[in-house]
């Protein structure tokens, strides 16, 4: 068996530091070291066939874990759209206020959770991963000013307006005050200015009716 195994295996060079960690991980999974290495390589081949790198896939998984931890849930878009369509004409303010409040909460989560990166960049990435068919999120920084642009091919006019309020809630919590904003169906453009936390809490509380 040993000889046969030897014939069917090849040796690859790796960083010395990795070996102990791989050994621990294989023990945790309850499989042999060789099986663990083979399995990792198999998944790399699988990822390659999907046209992705393993890093992209693990990044995406980590982001989805973060979304879940942030209290997001998967919902059928059709249900959300139909409810919004029915509510929006008469309850526009109520809906917009709910989305804004949700954004404030999400912004607070990002402030607590995101340590090493800029939370606004993480927010942009998370927005793209929501499944709202958001094609692009652009953050243009010029000194204290930041322009937030978001493009989606799927959003209705009502949902674009609601998403804009959500973004406003997040960004104000992250320390940006709205200077100007406008939207078209599927396109949001908001100009922000960096401001102090004291100024912002009064703006947010006012909008939340606190």
């Amino acid at each position: 068996m040993g000889r046969r195994l030897q014939k069917e295996t090849k040796l690859v060079r790796v960083y010395g530091d990795l070996v102990d960690k791989l050994n621990e991980a294989s023990n945790r999974e309850g499989i042999s070291f060789l099986d663990y290495i083979n399995s990792a390589l198999e998944q790399a081949v699988r990822a390659h066939k999907m046209g992705r790198s393993l890093k992209d896939i693990v990044d995406f998984y980590e982001m989805m874990m973060m979304q879940r931890e942030a209290g997001l849930v998967m919902v059928p878009s059709e249900v959300l759209n139909r409810i919004t369509e029915r509510f929006y004409p008469n309850e526009k303010n109520m809906l917009e206020s709910m989305w804004y409040e949700s954004g404030v909460w999400y912004g607070k989560y990002l402030l607590v959770k995101v340590k090493r990166e800029d939370p606004t960049d993480v927010f942009g990435e998370m927005l793209k991963a929501t499944g709202w068919n958001i094609k692009d999120v652009v953050l243009e920084r010029r000194g204290e000013k930041l322009t937030f642009k978001c493009f989606s091919l799927m959003l209705s006019l009502e949902n674009t307006a609601l998403l804009m309020r959500f973004i406003e809630g997040v960004m104000e919590t992250l320390g940006y005050e709205v200077i100007s904003q406008n939207y078209l169906r599927g396109v949001i453009e908001i100009e922000f200015r960096k401001t102090t936390k004291v100024d912002l809490s009064s703006i947010i509380n006012k909008k939340l009716g606190v």
Partner: protein, 191 residues
Amino acid sequence: MTPLKSSRRKMLAAREDLVDKISEIARKRGTLYDYVNEVLQEAIRADSLGASLREIIDERGVVKDAKDSGFILVPARLWYDLIDRAYSHLGEDWMRALWYECGQWYGKYYEDLDRFSAAVKRLLWDLSEFDLSAEGEYLVVKCIILNSSYSHADLLGKFIEGALDIFGYEPFSEDISKGVVNLRFRRRVSG
């Protein structure tokens, strides 16, 4: 992940056919040494996230499928609040019909009862428990929902009922309360 740097290199054994495939991929990207290390670093990163690379790639497939089928991510608090308000303002019947129809849509989309059940388990993050099993002539569905209201439990029941209608089942009994949905179905007799 920051690459681990070490002056000490070690040799690892791996299946020959896999090393050959990896060498082919690596050729387009750089060196075999760098690529193998990148792969193994991601395996360790996956382990630190509490999953294997296989599970992570499987999960991506499920999420991609969900997004393709129209699932989107929404803050839970906003969603529950919206559902509660819609349930009382737009009417229970209208909401139930909407969820039933939506369940039918997903029943058709997933085509198969096991696929539907697996998708519900993986995608509905607010379910702490979802069990769909056969008990004699019945199909029994048991769900426990986190942080939920009666309206949400009722609507989830309708969603499942709609999907199971597509698979040829009709409701036999239901027991729905805040956070808990227990449904019993039986095969519909045709004709």
